[in-house]
């Protein structure tokens, strides 16, 4: 409810004052004034954004912001920019952006066409697709075998939407966050949990007994992750994109990838040649 109220207040204030923004990029202005880039990220989505054993808030998305985007921002504004992290979840991330509470969503957000009506996206920085996490030996083998089954999904995710459209008789149970959805799977309230493959791999790696769980099914969706920003702020968006492009070009991106997804990483998930090529093709010439 507080979120509701905050939103309405922002809305009311916004309508009331409606001060004209003179600058080219309101976001860059805001960051310049405060000296801080505020990002929304996850606390429970290893390895993109999560709180680790030592109680530190870390992850691949956070590293990308710190090591690729912050340097680009500092260069652009000519001063050191600090990072502030706030928690965002699928239902809150777009409101957080539009209400100016955060400047950039750097987590596990899939770039989709309807979302592009509300926010702008950076380059795609990760590619995955939806699968199912089930107990070993489960009869569920993929989206073809979930009819009538109880399927946990994350509220506000693209996966829940696809299941509702493609398998309307699956009993969808939607939870606001990953831990609750996983708990429902562990206790048998649901038969499977669906999310992007990489998220399931992360969850499985973190489970008390990873051997009890298995990830099944072909990708039934295409999930390109992008960082989201307020709409129509192309100067800020260019800085973000340049940061990402430079990281891919210089190899920094692949170093970070290896840190989190390499054989010794948090969630081993090798980069396919195809995906590597795709990332490199997004980099436009200097």
């Amino acid at each position: 409810m507080t979120r509701f109220v905050a939103l309405l207040l922002t809305l009311a204030l916004g309508l009331g004052t409606a001060a004209p923004a003179l600058a080219q990029s309101p976001t860059l202005d805001k960051i310049n004034q405060s000296g801080t880039l505020v990002i929304g990220t996850r606390t429970g989505s290893p390895p993109f954004g999560f709180v680790n054993k030592d109680n530190q808030w870390v992850g691949f998305s956070i590293d990308l912001v710190e090591q690729a985007i912050l340097p680009a921002l500092s260069k652009k504004l000519g001063k050191e920019i600090k990072l502030e992290k706030k928690e965002s979840t699928p239902p809150t991330r777009i409101p957080l952006l539009t209400s100016n509470a955060v400047d950039l969503i750097a987590e596990t957000m899939t770039d989709t066409r309807p979302r592009r009506d509300s926010v702008d996206f950076s380059l795609t920085f990760f590619v995955t697709g939806a699968q199912f996490l089930v107990k070993k030996g489960s009869p569920i083998k993929g989206i073809q075998s979930i009819a009538g089954k109880r399927i946990a999904a994350q509220q506000g995710s693209t996966n829940a939407r696809i299941i509702r459209e493609r398998v309307p008789n699956a009993q969808l149970r939607e939870f606001p966050d990953q831990p609750a959805a996983f708990q429902a799977l562990v206790q048998g309230q649901t038969d499977a949990y669906t999310n992007d493959g990489i998220q399931l791999a992360g969850l499985k790696a973190k489970a008390p007994k990873p051997g009890d769980w298995t990830i099944v099914g072909d990708f039934y969706s295409y999930e390109p992750y992008g960082m989201a920003m307020r709409k129509n702020d192309s100067d800020f968006r260019s800085v973000v994109n340049n940061g990402l492009m430079e990281a891919i070009e210089s190899g920094k991106y692949f170093e970070l990838y290896d840190k989190w997804f390499g054989p010794k990483g948090e969630v081993p998930y090798p980069l396919t040649a195809e995906n590597k090529r795709f990332l490199q093709l997004q980099v436009v010439p200097k």
């Binding site: 409810m1 509701f4 939103l7 309405l8 922002t10 809305l11 204030l13 916004g14 309508l15 409606a18 923004a21 309101p26 699928p90 239902p91 777009i94 409101p95 539009t98 100016n100 989709t112 309807p114 979302r115 009506d117 509300s118 926010v119 109880r150 946990a152 509220q155 506000g156 995710s157 829940a160 939407r161 149970r173 939607e174 939870f175 606001p176 609750a180 708990q183 429902a184 206790q187 048998g188 309230q189 649901t190 307020r230 709409k231 129509n232």
Partner: protein
């Protein structure tokens, strides 16, 4: 704020039917939880005033235990904590028959029952002690005193605070979305997922909650006027 409103998302596509389903689910879970809460509230509220210590202690324990733990925790308790205590067959049956709804209903009903209980107790204690004594002097048993005299009067005294509690219950039903109950707030988020228009969806939800609460408040104020006891409640401005 640089935001273009697009209100049509609220009636295009499936949004309208989702909102309707959400309202129905909110009303359904709130109505059942309300019945449970009022029943528990009357029972434990009355028990907290009876002249028998073990019963008073039991009722006090119920009230303090349930009202002093956040509702969100109770939602998880009834959904994740209770099913493992049941036999395997009952568990499976429950999971295929709306475990989310029943867990949410119990969480809401039992939590608000503890709060209704305090409302009830304050109503009972507002009745002059002499009425108990007069009734007992006339040969009524304690059970009869409560059933025939104390409870009917107390229930008419507590309409205003009970309205307050009922509205809280309706609004708190939104917490059930954390255990996947597709009520109104859940559906507004659903619209947001499909259309990425958060502010429009939340505004629709807000207005619907407002309308529901105002209708309940209006009905309850009619009830209050109809059943007010002359002499016990003084209404300023007549009415």
């Amino acid at each position: 704020m640089n935001y273009k409103f697009q209100w049509s998302v609220l009636w295009s596509g499936q949004s309208g039917s989702w909102l309707l389903q959400g309202v129905l689910m909110t009303l359904e879970i709130s109505a059942l939880a309300w019945i449970l809460a009022v029943t528990l509230g009357i029972l434990s509220g009355a028990l907290r005033t009876v002249p028998f210590r073990p019963l008073r202690a039991a009722a006090t324990f119920y009230v303090e235990f349930f009202r002093n733990v956040p509702l969100l925790v109770w939602m998880f308790f009834w959904y994740f904590g209770v099913p493992p205590l049941l036999p395997a067959g009952a568990q499976e049956w429950l999971f295929t028959h709306g475990a989310e709804f029943w867990a949410g209903m119990f969480a809401l009903g039992v939590y608000h029952g503890a709060r209704f209980s305090e409302v009830m107790r304050s109503g009972i204690q507002a009745i002059p002690r002499t009425q108990f004594e007069a009734a007992q002097a006339m040969g009524f048993t304690t059970w009869q005193v409560y059933r025939l005299i104390i409870l009917p009067v107390a229930l008419r005294l507590i309409v205003p605070p009970a309205t307050n509690e009922s509205l809280n219950l309706l609004k708190n039903s939104s917490v059930a979305l954390t255990i996947s109950v597709a009520e109104l707030t859940f559906q507004t988020r659903q619209i947001e997922t499909y259309t990425a228009r958060a502010i429009e969806a939340l505004t629709a939800g807000t207005l619907i909650y407002l309308a529901l609460c105002l209708s309940i408040a209006t009905i309850m104020s009619r009830v209050e006027r109809r059943f007010a006891i002359p002499g016990l409640i003084v209404r300023v401005g007549g009415g």
